[in-house]
């Protein structure tokens, strides 16, 4: 590029920045957290705050389960129950699921592709803080004093906030506005971070890291970011509309003025269904890393796995109205959405078979990550099967908005997603903290949590068949629901014990865990090529990649992978 007039850079190198005086001082640590643009610290902060919100939302769920333990219970009133399920759902989806995914993406994507940081480090910090403050704003709705325009009310319209429930006339005060505006903020943060991940994967790969050599984890995060980029703005659009309706008297969803309440459902689920795949993507990502390493075999069918990921995300953009079979659509629309929804099961099935094929014939090492990943395989299969059942419109007419649906998506999100999150945390814990997680504590965690999970949610399938609708705060004694509800609530206790083991394990291992070294699992991706925890700059020398298993090549220069790929 020729430049006669534009002057060349006369930029002087600044002196190294001094943050605080002593490396370990309190101010230094605060500064490091608040001012950081380091993807690793931000990633851990994402995961940490997601875990924090997870505990809060879990407590809300426990309150609801206590209320439903007996018929005609009076533990929570109807209002408190409504705010509880709204806040539980909203928090789990927007403040736990997505931030968790972004946390893993933030921490691992640059390490896995051999980069020093994300493409836009400052935007990364911005994305995190917007999400975090958005979450705080959502929970501020509990605290806000009634004097401040009656703000002391949490949202109570359900996590999908169906119109016309959200209209000024039916939702007085500002509870719905808290839902709308805090999630609008969260949306800004999510799009910012997704953009960052996407650009990082495309533009910051180290030498030789072609798209065909990306770890499947990175592929999943790429697809996830792409879905966020396409789906989240739709939610933001919905929320802008609802805000206009509520503040300026616009008529988007005002049925009396010719607006349409069903349009909200379409718009929301155009976002909402890709969102479900956004949430499950980290599960695919983590499983695809954990299973090969602990089966001592490369992943089976790498290109097909990637193709399945891409096609799942593509199909997921065209299935939204399967949430709306009960609304009443033409039979053509019904048929379309039934078919497209059933199509999802094909790539998903391919993935499950490929994971099994990866394990088949391998030398399985049942360490904590693999234990949780195997749990995932079974539970995700059940979730997928109930999903296929619900995809069929007549079946959905019968069971929509019943506890069967609740059971289905909790099998997806807990049995599927949360188990792999645990698996991922145990897998990368040594990388992030340099210490091994304690196996025994982790095993207890697994045992209690698995038992509790199935105790809680398996009976909810039956409750759905028995006709129990979701979102009711109490029920009569003679419906045949008592025993199942009681068992379901007892399960929560087991889950809570499991979570206590988990949290205790995180703290205990941080202090007492054995030293991990660089590569405690004999893994093959680049994040294990640097020290644990990695230095600020990730890699002293930028790696050069020749195959899908760069670290195998480094360990075995006489028999490298690239000769076979």
């Amino acid at each position: 590029m020729e430049n006669d007039i534009l002057i060349e850079d006369d930029y002087r190198l600044p002196d190294p920045v001094r943050l605080g005086d002593e490396p370990g001082s309190f101010t230094r640590i605060i500064q490091k957290i608040v001012f950081t643009v380091d993807h690793k610290i931000l990633g851990l902060m994402y995961i940490g705050s997601a875990l924090f919100f997870f505990v809060i939302a879990g407590l809300l769920a426990s309150l609801m389960r206590i209320q439903l333990m007996y018929p005609n219970n009076t533990f929570l009133g109807p209002n408190a129950f409504n705010t509880s399920f709204t806040m539980h759902g909203t928090t789990m989806v927007f403040l736990v699921g997505m931030p968790m995914a972004f946390g893993f993406a933030n921490y691992l994507v640059p390490l896995m592709i051999g980069a020093r940081d994300m493409a836009f480090p400052r935007l990364n910090a911005f994305g995190f803080w917007v999400f975090f403050f958005g979450g705080c704003l959502l929970f501020f709705s509990y605290l806000g004093a009634p004097g401040l325009y009656a703000a002391g009310s949490a949202p109570d319209v359900g996590w999908f906030a169906y119109s016309p429930l959200t209209a000024r006339a039916f939702s007085r005060g500002h509870s719905t506005d808290y839902w709308t505006l805090s999630l609008l903020l969260g949306g800004v943060g999510s799009v910012a971070t997704a953009l960052n991940v996407l650009v990082t994967v495309i533009c910051c790969r180290c030498k030789g890291m072609t798209l065909g050599r990306l770890p499947i984890f990175v592929w999943s995060m790429l697809v996830l970011s792409f879905l966020v980029i396409l789906a989240l703005p739709c939610l933001s659009a919905c929320q802008i509309m609802i805000t206009l309706d509520r503040y300026l008297g616009a008529k988007f969803f005002d049925t009396q003025a010719g607006g349409s309440a069903v349009l909200w459902q379409h718009f929301f689920w155009i976002f909402g269904h890709p969102e479900v795949y956004i949430l499950i993507m980290p599960a695919f990502a983590i499983t695809s890393e954990v299973i090969p390493v602990f089966s001592r075999k490369p992943i089976f069918g790498y290109p097909i796995m990637v193709a399945a990921l891409v096609s799942i995300s593509f199909i997921s953009l065209g299935v939204w109205a399967h949430h709306m079979f009960c609304v009443g659509m033409t039979s053509l629309e019904n048929a379309f959405f039934v078919t497209s929804t059933l199509l999802v099961s094909i790539p998903t099935g391919i993935k499950i078979f490929n994971w099994i094929a990866t394990m088949y014939g391998g030398r399985l090492r049942f360490e904590l990550p693999l234990i949780f990943a195997v749990g995932f395989l079974f539970q995700f299969l059940i979730a997928g099967l109930t999903g296929v059942m619900l995809a069929v419109a007549p079946f959905d007419w019968q069971l929509s908005d019943s506890y069967f649906v609740v059971a289905h998506f909790h099998y997806v999100l807990i049995g599927g997603l949360l188990f792999t999150i645990f698996s991922g945390i145990y897998y990368w814990y040594p990388k992030a903290f340099g210490r091994m997680p304690n196996f025994k504590l982790g095993l207890w965690h697994f045992v209690f949590f698995t038992i509790g999970f199935h105790m809680t949610f398996l009976p909810q399938h039956f409750l759905g068949f028995l006709g129990m609708p979701r979102r009711i705060y109490t029920y009569q004694a003679d419906r045949g629901w008592d025993e199942w509800n009681f068992v379901s609530t007892i399960g929560v206790l087991f889950q809570a014990v499991g979570i206590l083991f988990f949290v205790y394990n995180l703290i205990y291992s941080y202090i007492r865990g054995e030293s991990a070294g660089e590569d405690p699992w004999d893994a093959w991706t680049l994040e294990w090529a640097t020290t644990s925890p990695p230095p600020d700059y990730n890699f002293a020398e930028m790696p050069v990649v020749k195959s899908r298993r760069p670290l195998w090549d480094a360990k075995h220069p006489d028999d490298p992978d690239w000769k076979y790929e």
Binding site: K32, F133, H174, H556
Partner: protein
């Protein structure tokens, strides 16, 4: 970021920590929070947000601010109490993509079709000896798709019906081909000893159990009228025949280790040493 800048070779350039993003984020939050509380807060949020973005802009313009971190040689072979079982070269399966070989696709089609023929003959023999009509089982099978058969008498079901024959042939044939195709992936993964037992008897028994449970919904006529023992016998004959044909076929590589382009047939696979 700045390839021209002269820098100490023992340092790494990293983006400088900065407070502006958090200030911008906080301002944006206040801006929204004000809508629920007081517009004064919105105004304040706007100002904070604006200053945050301006500060941010000055951070990255004209040059993203960065600082230099000295590279410390990491304490490489870190001693750890933990022993890691490294995967060794030449160890069984260190680069294994199983199954290495499977029967070819068309073996599944062939097995399925031949199995289907055997099974159909078995069913017709049953129809002939028990009811005196070889069309009886055919009509039973197609009843899933032909609503009129729901109330039909046994006599009607014994009569020849061309449409029913077409439906039955199509459904029987397509399902059989599908199962034949399943066999080519399934059989190599079953225990090698007594393959005929696992593939020919146990597998048909499993799917017959599944059919027994679901046939009421799929094809109530068939489930009411069929003789389940004979039905199981038919399935086992299918399993044995189809399994035998698939099993005897010469196996081909799964091409798992080839590139995607080679698998699609766009590129010629490299010759194996």
């Amino acid at each position: 970021m700045n390839p021209d800048s002269k820098q100490n070779p023992n340092t790494v350039e990293l983006p400088e920590p900065t407070g502006w993003p958090i200030i911008a984020a906080f301002g944006l939050t206040l801006l929204f929070a004000g809508l629920m509380t007081s517009l004064v807060i919105t105004l304040l949020g706007f100002l904070i947000c604006l200053s945050g973005f301006i500060g941010w802009f000055l951070d990255v313009f004209p040059h993203p601010r960065h600082f230099y971190v000295p590279v410390e040689q990491p304490p490489r072979p870190e001693t750890t109490a933990r022993s890691i079982q490294y995967l060794k070269i030449g160890e069984r399966g260190h680069r294994m993509r199983l199954p290495i070989e499977v029967p070819p696709l068309w073996a599944g089609v062939k097995g399925g079709l031949v199995g289907a023929a055997f099974m159909a003959s078995m069913a017709c023999i049953w129809g002939h000896f028990m009811y005196g009509s070889i069309w009886y089982p055919v009509n039973l099978l197609s009843a899933a798709a032909i609503p009129e058969f729901a109330e039909a008498s046994t006599e009607t079901l014994k009569e020849f019906n061309l449409f029913s024959l077409v439906v039955a042939t199509f459904s029987h044939g397509s399902i059989s081909i599908m199962i034949g195709l399943l066999y080519i992936t399934l059989l190599p993964m079953l225990p090698a000893k007594f393959a005929w037992f696992w593939g020919g008897i146990i597998t048909p028994l499993i799917w017959t159990g599944f059919l027994f449970a679901t046939m009421r919904f799929v094809n109530p006529i068939l489930s009411q009228r069929v003789d389940w023992y004979w039905f199981i016998a038919c399935q086992i004959v299918f399993g044995m025949v189809c399994g035998y044909i698939v099993f005897k076929e010469e196996k081909v590589e799964t091409m798992q280790s080839l590139s995607f382009a080679a698998k699609l047939g766009i590129e010629a696979p490299e010759a194996k040493k």
